[in-house]
Structure formats: C-alpha cells, structure tokens
Amino acid sequence: MTQTITVDHIARVEGHGGIRVVLDGNEVREVAFDVFEGVRLLEGLVRGRSLEDVTGIVSRICAICSHGHSITSLQALENALEIETTPQTRKLRDLAYQGANIESHALHVFFLALPDLLGHPSVISLAGVNPEAVAMALRLKKLGNTIQEIVGGRAVHPVNYILGGFGRVPETEELVALQQEILARRADCARVVEILRSVKVPEFVRAPVRCAALAPEDDAFFFGDRIVVSDERGTIPVSEYRSLTNEYLVPHSHAKRSAHDHRSYMVGALARLTLNGRYIGGLAREAWEELGLALPSDNILMNNVAQAIEMIYSIERALHLVSALLETGVAEEAPPSYRARACRGAAATEVPRGILFYSYELDEQGRVAAADVITPTAQNLSHVEDQMRAAARAGAVAGVPHDVLAQRLTVIARAYDPCISCSVHLVRR
C-alpha cells in the first residue's frame, strides 16, 4: 500500500512551491518538488525589444537577485557586441555583488533558515527570545542593501546599470560613508560565528553533493568564464553552458530542470566553497575554521553554514573594493560605442543562489531575436528532489512519523534557499 506525504505550500521561501512524496513501505515511489508559481514567459515576451530595453525588463524576473539579473544580462549583451568593460566598472559591479550576497545570505540564514534550526516558526517568534541576534541580522541585511543602493540606485530592481557601466558613478562621499559602515559591521562577524556555532545542524540526510560553480577570474569570486564541476577534470566554457544545464521539462513543475550527464548537481554557496574554497582568506577563513565546516560535505543543510561564511567573505571583499576605489578615485567614464548588428553572446555570474546564465541573440537592428535565462534554483530543482528521495528513504527505514518527515523535506528544500519566482522563467532550448 502506498502512502503520500504532501506539503501544499512551502513557507519561508521566495515563491510558490510544494512537495509530494509517495512511499511504498520503505521504497520511495515518487518525489516531486512542485513549482506552481504562475508562468510569466518573460524570455519570450522580450523578443523584439531593443537591446537597450531588455535589461530593465529581465531584472523583474527576481527581486532578490535583481542586481545579478541586470548585470549578467548586460554582460551577455557586452559579450555579443564585443564591448570591453573598464577596471572601474568591473570593481563597482563586483561591489554590487558583495552587497547582494550580504543582503541575500543575511535574509536566508537568519530569517528563513535559522528558525528551522532553532525550532521557531518565524524570525518574529525568534525575536521574542533573542532580540539582539535579530537586530544584528537586520543591520547586516541593511548593509547589503546600502551597498546595492549606492552602486545600483535602488535595492530592488536597480536603475543605474547600463551597457559598459553606470548612469552615474558613486560620489566619493558616498563611498567614504560606506567604508565607515562596513568597518562598523565587520565587528558583527564574530557574533555571526558565535550564533552559528550554537546551532546544531541536523544530519537526517546524508547523500553526496555534486557541485558546479564558476572558476573565479583572478580574485573576483563571483565572476568567471569557465565552469568547474565536482567530479570532472577540465572546465566548461560559459559559451557552452548548455552542455552543463541540459534542460528538460517535467509535468509537475512550471520550471525546467537541469542535469549534467544525466545526473543532478547543486549550485550555490556550498558548491562555491567546495570547489573554490582556496580563494577564501581573512576573517571568512577564520570563521570557516571555527565553524569546522569539512568539505566536500554530504549534508546539504551545510549550505546554510557556507552562506554565513560567504557573508563574512563579502563584507571583507566589499571593504577591500571600496578602499581600492577610493584609492584610485572614481571618475565618470565615457559610454562605450557599439554598432547594433546581428550577433550573439552569453555570460554567467555567481549570484547568491549559484550560477546564473544569460544568452542573447540580436538581429541586425539590435533587437532581441532570442533570450535564454537559466537561474540557479532551476538548476537545483533535480538535486533537491534527489536529496529528498534520500531523506525520505532513510526516514521510512527508521520509521520516522510522516509529519516529522514532511517537516524534514521542507528543511531540505529551504536549505538551497530556493527562489521559485526566479525558476519559472526558463527559456527555449
């Protein structure tokens, strides 16, 4: 006789998703991470729009990664049009990514995931017992937003990013004030480590975590044009990203799935630290050692710990970038010149949840002939299901009550920090 475990609507994740697992004794018959967010078809709708309009539209795919969507879209267009960016533009974009990473990880670690680990339904109830920790989390989150506002002109759906650079570069005074604020927040990092150390990460799922991440370019951790995968020698150029993602459709989801060599993989903080951990130094390295995160890990819930370490990395990296910008001085740069023509280009960056891919085909008038966007959450969906399958099987064998098992499955889904709104906009092959 089969039994079905369902979670109608997963709480504390961005967007609308549910879980359905069918058990037959100890066997797992079916696992589905349902995505029923309404499809918005944005990649299809932008066809025919000019290359100047498209970025402002695709940024709306996702609020929390809107800086990543905007900048990756621009980089794909720049790749197509052969526009070179200046070191100043690259530094400022790097800075925006640190802001996004701080904001997004602070939100996920403290507001969405930590309540699970501490047995609270929400951060509101957590604030009742530990107001100081919540106040600190809010300060860190705010720092991430301040950085995004200064560079991008708005925390959600930035307005200041254009081909080659910026409508207006930040003023020196803004950067000086930001430097002070980052210095002040750096003191919170020790507290972050302390809180995470007091948390016991559950171990109810043990399954290999196959990772994919961009190989960092120089010391820019979130940028690169080659992809590394856990168990593979060699790298995949971003221009051939479809050989990594191999998208396919399943009936229960409005989001496409990814599999590489017919096997799922994971992208995000845990994947980045697993594959590129050697780039992490300073306070973040100290935090990593104190938290005793051993990599590669076969516990996907460690992604939350990896996010905390990365948040500390981003605070230090932001400080480094702001100081470097102040040292050289920030100047207005002439916008790049380009000629609209039929061309194609691709780009990828590491946004908080993992690799984000963009590619465009433009026609001779510079209008979008085809657009392809593959978000981190879409790539993770198959991996989430594989981990759920492992947990469901282990739970069934151990005779875990179904309500507890259902709760465990949501904790697994949440560990990836899924952004379901993002995942339903994937594109034609």
């Binding site: 309404g38 299809g44 066809r47 709306r60 809107s66 509101i124 300060r139 459709l249 009936p251 034609r428």
Partner: protein
C-alpha cells in the same frame, strides 16, 4: 487589540515582500504596532482563517488558484492594499508582445509536452477581480510610500498617493531634463510620481515602471517628441511594458 495583518504574494518577483523586509529600521516598530498573523513568506505557522484588518497583496493573478486565493483574502480583509505595479496594473508579465501568448508558451517551453496542460492565462491586476481599497504602485513599490501608507492606515486613514507625474518630481530636484536636453525617450511626463524621479537622478530615462499618471499633458509631450524626432510609440511602449491592462481599460487619449 493590535490590528491583524496579512502579507500575500501572487505571481511576481516577490519584490514587495522584499521591500517590506528591507524596512530594517522600521521592522521592530511595525511588529510592535501590528500583529502579522498570515505571512507564508516569513513564517511556517500562519492563521489562514481569522479576519484581517489589512491585507497587503503583491503580484498579479495568473491562474484559477490565484484568483481563488485573492477572493478568499478579500473576504477576510477589512482593507485590501494592492502593492506594486503587478498588483496595481498587471506588470511586466502582462506586457504587450508581438505574438499571442500561446505562441510565446511554445517558444519558451516547446510544443506538445507538459506545458500544453498548464493553466496559463494573461496576467491581470487585482482590481479585475476584487475591490481594492488602496494601491501603492512601483516596480517595486517605494519603501517610503509603503511605510507612509501603513502609518496612514494604522491611524484610520486611507493613504494619499501622488496624482502628478515623475516629471514634476524631477523638476523639483532640478535634474537636467533628459527629454529636452538630451533627446532621450523619457516616460517621466506620463508616469505617476512617488519615486523621487529615481532614474533621471542617475541620468537614465524613466521606463514607466510605476504605471500611468491620471492626468498628464499629452499634447505638450507630443510636441516635444516631434521636435526631438522621437516617436510617441517609444514612450507608449514603455508604459505598455508595465501597465498594459490598465491602459486598455482607460483607453486614455493619444499615447496609450
């Protein structure tokens, strides 16, 4: 008793819920003054039954499930506030496209296959289904406007939002006019204010993300567009990227 609040997201990018969570300095006050009883995005324990004093709803309605959810929220709530351009005007998912939605579905998801069975409808704003008591536009809504509206509502008033264009805010800030000085197709003259002319402040032309303003001087704009050798379609296309359903309903003259 503290007013009971619900925060809900239909189809969209979660932008308004993020804006609410981005009120880092005011969140403690909001939690002190209200009781947030139903907020799936923030809590795994929610009261999905009791009446609400205020429901904040973001996103557009894209399928039968969301329509049902919205009607249920309306039944429970004394005041329903549409948050963001998707909820107020349909948003980007309701934009004009060169081809019918069925063709776009095939383009994105392929022909045949599971997508054929999905409930895919044109995205619609909330007011197409239920009575909306207050609407805070913006993609995303501005933090200040949300906070002010919330304070108004908690004090028993309905929020008063600008009925003038972005252009006016831009002039007050003494920005150089992008349309007149640089000949850029700026949607500021026909877009409702409230953002403090954010884009022009960065020397980027307004893209109309807040939706149309009720009264605008279309005639004068058209004259300038002719002078600058710009086409009116460039402006109307911007507006129709974010607010096509509202513009179709109003059928306002000239540009739309």
């Amino acid at each position: 008793m503290k007013p009971k609040i619900g925060i809900f997201g239909l189809s969209g990018c979660w932008g308004e819920q993020i804006v609410i969570l981005n009120c880092e300095d005011q969140i403690p006050d909001i939690l002190g003054a209200t009781e947030i009883v139903d907020f799936l995005g923030g809590s795994s324990r929610n009261d999905e039954e009791s009446p609400l004093d205020v429901a904040f709803v973001e996103g557009s309605v894209a399928n039968a499930r969301e329509e049902k959810q919205l009607r249920r929220i309306r039944e429970r709530a004394r005041l329903l506030v549409a948050c963001g351009t998707c909820a107020c005007h349909g948003g980007v998912a309701a934009m004009d496209a060169d081809q019918p939605r069925e063709a776009v579905v095939c383009q994105v998801y392929g022909t045949g296959g599971p997508a054929a069975a999905w409930d895919i409808r044109p995205h619609r704003p909330l007011a197409d289904f239920v009575k909306v008591d207050a609407a805070i536009p913006g993609c995303p809504m501005e933090k200040d406007e949300f906070l002010r509206a919330t304070a108004n509502i908690l004090n028993g008033d309905l929020p008063l939002l600008p009925a003038y264009p972005v252009c006016l805010e831009c002039k007050m800030k003494e920005n150089d006019c992008l349309l007149i000085a640089r000949g850029l197709p700026c949607a500021g003259p026909v877009t409702v204010a409230g953002c403090g002319a954010r884009c022009p402040g960065y020397r980027v032309a307004c893209i109309g993300c807040r939706g149309p303003v009720e009264e605008s001087n279309i005639e004068s704009l058209q004259k300038i567009l002719v002078e600058k050798e710009l086409r009116a379609e460039e402006i109307s296309r911007k507006l129709r990227t974010f607010a096509a359903p509202t513009l179709d309903r109003n059928r306002q003259g000239g540009l739309a």
